[in-house]
Symmetry: C2
Subunit: 389 residues, 2 copies
């Protein structure tokens, strides 16, 4: 009998953490508890705390006091709430912490948040943003080689349910994130893959391939997923035209790798905030490549797009002439959406003015709220029901 002595090095530190600790919660607090009337109760065990608040988008950013019970469990109940996805934290003696009883955590750039979904009647936003008993697409992390940047870069690619077993070709939506985001923003904060599963299953959106690229040229991928090591994400993005200018190489890669309908009317590009700027500039510079565009809370009028930024190739320049060319190309869908409270509202008034001056047709959506994911999820849900029809 063969025996091999371990070559696994003894670790320099004795690791005492028991797996059990992660399996069995000693105090089985339920938080958050979503009640049948859509009110929600939050609970935190905090014996030594002198004050505990609930804060987040649920409380409109205000600090909502929680009440201490005899068992040192602090509680508060809010709502009934609209069916939606909500972020929150607890503020314990001034310190913002995640809910230790809630396994669900989302990262927005560099901030982690506890979250939950309030389900609806089946047609609520919360239902749309939840995985349902429908066919699920395949979600892949894929690398493509960027010749313009001389490195491999990471994509999230969604192929709809049935892609692998069918022979048909599919239209493609290119979906872009905002400043500080990455290729994981739309699938996580945006719940995009569930939105596609659910709207496609209902027949409200066409089955489509969705490519979520990384538009931050300072990095090849989301934090920790490339050879750049572990790094803290931050706000700096791509505001000089270089990413948009390089975009055809992504389209070329996708048309080669996947069964796509490789024509403008079967291609869409959409993005939020910085990704809205990218979408706008792609529409101006590559009007023959795409037939559908979505600009969600777009950073379309900022200094970089006016001045031409740093890129010497003039990608951001001659906008009036380029808008005239875009209008002549007459895209199937040109969708612009923004919230009344968005700090980029003025830039989008300016954008519409330029499009109007050129007689360019577009769809304009004005929602409540500001520069927030709740709006971007809603805009995406609306936009994908308009394209490829």
């Amino acid at each position: 009998m063969k025996r091999i002595i371990s070559i696994v090095a003894a670790m320099s530190v004795c690791i005492a953490l028991s797996a059990q600790e992660h399996i069995f919660d000693p105090r089985n607090l339920v938080s958050p508890e979503v009640h049948s009337d859509a009110s929600v109760t939050f609970r935190l065990y905090a014996p030594d705390a002198s004050e505990v608040f609930l804060t987040g988008d649920i409380t409109a950013g205000r600090d909502l006091p929680m009440k201490r019970g005899e068992d040192a469990v602090w509680t508060v109940t809010v709502g009934p709430l609209e069916s939606e996805l909500y972020f929150y934290w607890f503020k314990v003696d001034g310190r913002k912490i995640l809910d230790p009883s809630n396994s669900y955590v989302l990262r927005d750039v560099k901030t982690n948040m506890s979250w939950f979904i309030v389900p609806g009647d089946g047609n609520g936003k919360g239902d749309l943003y939840s995985a349902q008993n429908v066919g699920h697409g395949t979600v892949s992390k894929v690398w493509y080689n960027s010749e313009s940047m001389g490195c491999d870069r990471r994509l999230t690619v969604y192929t709809p349910a049935g892609y692998e077993t069918s022979r048909r070709k599919y239209p493609v939506l290119y979906l872009l994130h905002g400043m500080g985001g990455d290729e994981e923003a739309w699938p996580t904060l945006g719940r995009a893959t569930y939105i596609f599963d659910n709207l496609i299953a209902k027949g409200l959106a066409e089955p489509m391939i969705v490519v979520m690229s990384n538009g931050n040229l300072l990095h090849r991928s989301a934090p920790g997923e490339s050879g750049e090591g572990l790094w803290q994400p931050y706000g700096c993005g791509s505001f000089d035209g270089s990413f948009e200018e390089s975009f055809p190489e992504i389209v070329k890669f996708v048309d080669r790798r996947y069964r796509t309908v490789a024509k403008p009317s079967s291609r869409a590009v959409a993005g939020l905030s910085m990704g809205g700027l990218h979408t706008y500039m792609i529409s101006l510079n590559y009007p023959e490549m795409f037939g559908n565009y979505g600009i969600f809370s777009g950073a379309v009028g900022s200094w970089w797009s006016r001045t031409g930024g740093v890129n010497s190739n003039g990608f951001y320049q001659d906008q009036p002439a380029k808008i005239a060319r875009l209008a002549a190309a007459s895209p199937d869908v040109y969708y612009i959406a923004i919230g009344k409270d968005d700090f980029l509202y003025g830039e989008n008034v300016e954008l519409r003015g330029m499009l109007d001056a050129a007689g360019m047709e577009y769809t304009y959506v004005e929602s409540a709220g500001g520069h927030i994911w709740a709006n971007w999820r809603a805009y995406l849900s609306e936009f994908i029901q308009m394209i490829f029809k």
Copy 2:
């Protein structure tokens, strides 16, 4: 010009959270800071705290006191540490919290943990568990239909760099999680996809497809990823033989969906803890299907496997006879690994006794430490260098 009034419903709550908050950290604390000598400094701003400790696998589970500075930032420096992946929390006035300055969070069953990697000289464990500048495989979330369970179930599938552009067929490793885990355990806590990228790039492991299934029959997928809604994960798994008995349907799906070498010597199955039991039972009941087996800290001698558990098909019974049949099949690799401090150590002594009695050949690895991910990552790294050679 066409204008459509928004059909995006005004939200019932005014959402005041600014995206800016998530992009710009008001107090740009660096924590953890890994120094060039592999010592690590942790920092937490906590003006009102009366005591702050560092705890986690770094401190061997002990509470390491942190020192308050004039700026109300508490700090402690540990190490130098071996190149490895480490988990930790802060304990502030008795409450365990994540490091708010660290974006990196991992979920182990229902507990979230802050983590970081200490890099090495290029050949350290931390290097092996990090994304490096090498070709990256594609990592996909894929659904298969389980006839035996009458529902779709979720898999994580890794295809090695070059899979999409080559025509060759690949061997397949089926990699199983432990009690309370799911199809996301190995790619996250186990850093498996990086281990494969790095060892394949170095030529130390054969390019292979890796299928990480969900062995908890009470659920179809990891929390929130299926039509089961948001649910809190818990420890209950599959200890009655039903999951292992259904395993051929996963192999059948994979051989149909991917370019595999569909023969025993090109198939491996390995798992940790409960997944080690599953691997052991698959080896006893399907010795003709696989040629390579890895049992990492296996729960192989527990009451369920002795008594036959609940499954009426006898999948856990007649072990001596089945071991004799397995020995006759003479697998290429039969790898058993466990830590000296593992609470399942005795069960693995018993297992080796049964194999010895049957004259069954196997590789035995005994490491330091207990029932922990640091060991499972090391066992996986060792095991995949032995198979498909």
